[in-house]
C-alpha cells in the first residue's frame, strides 16, 4: 500500500480496540485532555476487546527465518558486502506492520541480515496500529531502526518528514545492490515506483509491494454468460443493464470505506485528461476539481448509483464483506487493489478465476488508452533518523529489496514487488497473472496520485463526499464543489506542509 491506500489494507482490522492498559499509557504519555477517558475505560469494562484479528500467515509459509535460519543464503562479496558501513555488532530493532501481507517476508529478510552480521542482535516486532505504539518512542527520541509504516492507524509519514524524524535514504539508493551484481540499488527498482516516497526531492521512504488497482471480475462468470469486459464507460453501462436484467447486481463496493471508489474515479480522470489533470489535483491548483475531466468522471461514476447498478446494501459493507459478497457471485464487478486474492484467501470458490481489468475509458477522445492503469507501490518502509542503528536499518531494506527478498515476498503473498524481474517465472494463479498482464499492457501508461499521501485529511474528507454521491445524497456537481472546497481549505491552511509534483 502507498499511504494513499494505507487505510485500505486493514481498515476494519482494529478499529476501536484498545486494552485498558493501552489507554492509560497513551493518556499518561500524551497528556491529552481526557474527560472521556473514564467513559472509555468504563466502557472497556471487562478488560478490553480481543486483539485485532491478524491475517493468517500466507500460503506455504516457512518457519521463522530469524529464529532458525534455513539454508544459508549466498552473501554478497566485494564492495556489495557492506557498502553502508553497518556496525557489525550493533543490534537491529525492526517493527513491521503485520497486515494483509503478514510479516513472514520481513522475518525472512531479518534472517539474512543475521547471517550477514552474526554478531548483531536482531529483534522483530510484527504489530498493527503503529501510531499508537510507536509515537511515544518517536517523541522520546528512541525510535526503532526500521519500520514498515503501513495499515490502518499508521504514522503520518508526511508529518514525520516535516518533523525531521526520517533518515534520507540517498546513500542506500546509490549503494551496490545486494544480489544483482554490478547494479546500483536504485536501478533494481521499477522506474517511478519510489516517486511517492520523495519529499522535496529527498528519498525519505521506500515502497515495497507493487499494487495495481482496477476493476475485478470472475473471468469464468463473464465467459459463462457471454459477457465481454467493456473498453468504454458507455459499454460498461450497457453491460450493467444486461447484467441487471439477468438478476445479478452489476457492481458492489466497500461502502463503509468509500476510498475504494478513488480506484474508479482517478483512473477515469487520468485517462480523460492525462497525467496533467492528476497533477493539477495533487498540486491543489485553483479549480482543479472543476476541470471538465473531473466533472465528467464524477458524472459517469454516478450513473452506476443513479441507474441502480449497485448491489443494495453495499454502502454498509466493509472491504472484506463486500469482497465476500462478490466472491459469492452476488455482484459482477468490484474495485479493489491487487492484494485482493491474498486478503480473501480461503474464501475463493474453485475455478472462480478472478482477474483485474483497467477502468473503462470515459470517451474515445481520452488522452490515455484503455490499458492505462493505476499502479503504485505500497508498504512504506522508513528508517528513523534518531534510531540507534540507522545504517543497519538501511541495510535491512537493501536485503528486503534484493532479488531473493522480493521473490520470497511474491511467493509468500502472491503479490508483486517493486524489484524488477524478481517474480519472473512464478506461477501464482490467475489473479497474479492478470495483475502482471495488466501492468505489462499498460506499459508507460501507469499513474498514481499523490494528494492522498500528502494531505491525508483532505483525501478522507473527499472520500466521504464520494460515498455520499454514490448513495445519491449529493449530485456529481455537488461532489465536485465540495471536493474543491476541501482542496481550497487545505491549500489555505498554513499548518499543513505543502508539496509540489513536477
Amino acid at each position: 500500500m502507498s499511504d494513499a491506500y494505507a487505510n485500505q489494507l486493514a481498515p476494519a482490522a482494529a478499529t476501536g480496540q484498545y486494552s485498558r492498559r493501552d489507554l492509560l499509557r497513551r493518556v499518561a504519555t500524551i497528556g491529552l485532555a481526557a474527560p472521556t477517558i473514564s467513559g472509555i475505560l468504563a466502557a472497556c469494562g471487562g478488560g478490553g476487546a480481543p486483539p485485532p484479528a491478524a491475517a493468517p500467515p500466507a500460503g506455504a509459509a516457512p518457519t521463522s527465518a530469524a529464529a532458525a535460519p534455513g539454508p544459508k543464503a549466498p552473501l554478497p562479496t566485494g564492495e556489495a558486502r557492506n557498502p553502508l558501513k553497518v556496525p557489525e555488532d550493533q543490534p537491529l530493532d525492526s517493527v513491521i506492520f503485520k497486515g494483509g501481507y503478514s510479516d513472514e517476508y520481513a522475518i525472512n529478510a531479518e534472517g539474512i541480515y543475521q547471517q550477514a552480521y552474526p554478531k548483531a542482535k536482531v529483534s522483530h516486532q510484527g504489530i498493527q496500529r503503529l501510531q499508537e505504539q510507536l509515537q511515544p518512542r518517536f517523541v522520546g527520541g528512541t525510535p526503532p531502526d526500521v519500520i514498515d509504516n503501513s495499515g490502518a492507524g499508521n504514522l503520518d509519514t508526511a508529518a514525520l518528514v516535516a518533523e525531521g524524524q526520517l533518515a534520507d535514504l540517498a546513500d542506500l539508493m546509490e549503494a551496490p545492490a545486494f544480489d544483482s551484481s554490478g547494479k546500483k540499488f536504485k536501478d533494481t527498482l521499477l522506474p517511478g515506483s519510489q516517486d511517492n516516497a520523495v519529499y522535496d526531492g529527498k528519498q525519505f521512504a521506500l515502497l515495497y509491494a507493487y499494487t495495481v488497482n482496477g476493476i475485478w471480475s470472475s473471468t469464468r462468470l463473464l465467459k459463462d454468460r457471454g459477457w465481454e469486459y467493456p473498453k468504454t464507460w458507455d459499454g460498461m453501462l450497457k453491460l450493467c443493464e444486461e447484467i441487471k436484467k439477468a438478476g445479478i447486481a452489476p457492481w458492489t463496493y466497500t461502502g463503509k470505506f468509500p476510498q475504494y471508489l478513488y480506484m474508479v474515479l482517478m483512473p477515469m480522470i487520468y485517462k480523460a485528461g492525462g497525467i496533467e489533470a492528476i497533477k493539477r489535483l495533487d498540486n491543489l491548483e485553483p479549480n482543479a476539481w472543476q476541470q471538465p475531466e473531473v466533472k465528467a468522471s464524477a458524472e459517469a461514476l454516478y450513473q452506476l448509483a443513479d441507474r441502480g447498478y449497485i448491489m443494495p446494501g453495499s454502502e454498509g459493507l466493509t472491504h472484506t464483506e463486500s469482497q465476500a459478497e462478490w466472491l459469492q457471485g452476488k455482484a459482477v464487478f468490484i474495485p479493489v487493489g491487487s492484494w485482493l486474492e491474498n486478503e480473501m484467501k480461503g474464501q475463493v470458490p474453485d475455478g472462480f478465476n478472478m482477474a483485474v481489468k483497467p477502468v473503462p475509458s470515459l470517451s474515445v477522445s481520452d488522452k490515455v488508452p484503455f490499458e492505462g492503469i493505476q499502479a503504485s507501490a505500497g508498504e512504506t518502509f522508513i528508517v528513523p533518523s534518531k534510531g540507534k542503528n540507522v545504517q543497519g536499518g538501511k541495510e535491512l531494506l537493501r536485503i528486503l529489496f534484493s532479488m531473493q527478498g522480493a521473490r520470497f515476498f511474491s511467493e509468500n503473498t502472491r503479490a508483486l514487488t517493486v524489484v524488477q524481474g524478481s517474480a519472473n517465472g512464478l506461477d501464482l494463479g490467475t489473479a497474479f497473472a492478470s495483475v502482471q498482464a495488466a501492468a505489462d499492457a499498460a506499459g508507460s501508461n501507469r499513474f498514481t496520485y499523490l494528494f492522498g499521501t500528502w494531505y491525508a485529511k483532505m483525501r478522507d474528507d473527499i472520500k466521504d463526499q464520494l460515498g455520499a454521491m454514490m448513495t445519491k445524497k449529493i449530485t456529481p456537481a455537488e461532489f465536485v464543489n465540495k471536493a474543491q472546497e476541501f482542496a481550497d481549505s487545505t491549500a489555505k491552511d498554513n499548518s499543513i506542509k505543502k508539496y509540489k509534483r513536477a
Binding site: A33, A34, T36, G46, G316
Partner: protein, 295 residues
C-alpha cells in the same frame, strides 16, 4: 487517641492520591498547555500558538457536526434509557414482588451489561448487516420488507442505530440501580397506599419516583457522560460514518490526533470537551436537587 487517626489515614490515602495526581491531574494540566501549541505528536517539537486552536475549533464545521450528535444523544439517551429502566425496575420490584417471572427478566436484561462495549458493537454490526443481518431478516420475516435499511450505511439511520445499541446495553445496569432504590423503600408505604385504594400507576408517581430520585440524579450524570463520550461504540460500529453522520466529538478528537497528526488541535478539542462535561455535571446536580426524604 485522636491524633493517631492520621497515622492510619495517610499511608492508605497517599498511594492513591499520588497515582491520581500523576496519572490524572498532571496529564490534565499538561493538556492545557498542549492545546496552545501546534504539536504534531511525532516528535518533541512544539511551538506556542496561543488560542489559534480554539479559534479554529469555533469555525470547524466538522466539530460542530460532531457536537450536534453529542447534543442529540444527551437528550435521547437519558430519556429513553431511564424510562425503560424505571419501567422494568418498577415492574419487577414495586410493592415487594413484581410481575411473574421477574427474577428471570432481571438476569436477562442485565446480561448485555456484562459484555464489553467493543464486543457489543461487533455483535450488533452483524445484526445490522445489510444482507445477512438479523434486523433486516426479521423485518422480512414479519412482512415488513419495506422497512429494510442499510442501517449503519444510511446517513439517516446510522446514529439512531448506534444509539439503540447503547440503550440496549445500558438499560440493565440502570434497572438494577433503580431496583436497589425501590427495594429500600419501606414496604409499609405501599401497603398504606393500597389500603387507600391507590393504583400501581399512582404508587409509581407518588411513592416510587420521588423516593428513588437520588438514584435518577446519579443515573442522569452517568448517562450524560456516556452521551458526551460515545467514543467506543461509534468507533467500533461506524467510525463516525457515513460521511460523518454518526460522528461524535471524542471520536473526532481521536481521529484528529491519531490519523492526521494534529495533537495540538486534538488536545484543544479535548479541553473543550472537559469543560462541557464539567458544566453538564454541575448543571445536572443543580437542576435535579430536591430535598432528601429520611426513612
Amino acid at each position: 487517641m485522636y491524633h493517631h487517626k492520621y497515622r492510619l489515614i495517610v499511608p492508605f490515602l497517599a498511594p492513591a492520591l499520588l497515582l491520581y495526581g500523576l496519572l490524572v491531574l498532571w496529564p490534565y494540566t499538561q493538556s492545557f498547555y498542549v492545546a496552545l501549541t501546534d504539536w504534531k505528536g511525532v516528535s518533541a517539537n512544539r511551538n506556542f500558538v496561543g488560542l489559534d486552536n480554539f479559534g479554529r475549533l469555533i469555525q470547524d464545521p466538522q466539530f460542530w457536526n460532531a457536537l450536534r450528535h453529542n447534543g442529540a444523544m444527551l437528550v435521547v439517551l437519558p430519556v429513553v434509557t431511564l424510562s425503560i429502566a424505571l419501567l422494568f425496575a418498577t415492574l419487577f420490584t414495586q410493592g415487594g414482588r413484581g410481575v411473574a417471572g421477574a427474577s428471570f427478566y432481571r438476569v436477562v436484561f442485565f446480561f448485555p451489561q456484562v459484555m464489553a462495549v467493543a464486543i457489543v458493537g461487533v455483535l450488533w454490526n452483524f445484526v445490522y448487516h445489510p444482507t445477512i443481518g438479523l434486523a433486516n431478516g426479521f423485518l422480512k420475516a414479519v412482512g415488513l420488507a419495506g422497512l429494510q435499511r442499510t442501517w449503519l450505511g444510511d446517513a439517516e439511520t446510522a446514529l439512531a442505530a448506534v444509539a439503540a445499541v447503547i440503550v440496549w446495553q445500558a438499560v440493565g445496569f440502570y434497572m438494577v440501580l433503580f431496583m436497589a432504590g425501590i427495594q429500600s423503600i419501606p414496604i409499609s408505604f405501599y401497603e398504606a397506599a393500597v389500603i387507600d385504594g391507590a393504583s400501581g400507576r399512582t404508587m409509581f408517581w407518588r411513592i416510587t419516583l420521588p423516593l428513588v430520585w437520588g438514584h435518577v440524579q446519579v443515573a442522569l450524570i452517568y448517562l450524560g457522560i456516556v452521551a458526551l463520550d460515545f467514543f467506543t461504540i461509534v468507533q467500533v460500529m461506524t467510525i463516525g460514518g457515513p460521511n460523518r453522520a454518526s460522528d461524535v466529538v471524542a471520536r473526532y478528537m481521536y481521529e484528529t490526533a491519531f490519523s492526521y497528526a494534529q495533537f495540538g488541535y486534538a488536545t484543544a478539542i479535548g479541553v473543550s470537551l472537559l469543560f462541557m462535561t464539567l458544566t453538564l455535571s454541575l448543571l445536572t446536580f443543580a437542576l435535579t436537587r430536591r430535598e432528601r426524604v429520611e426513612f
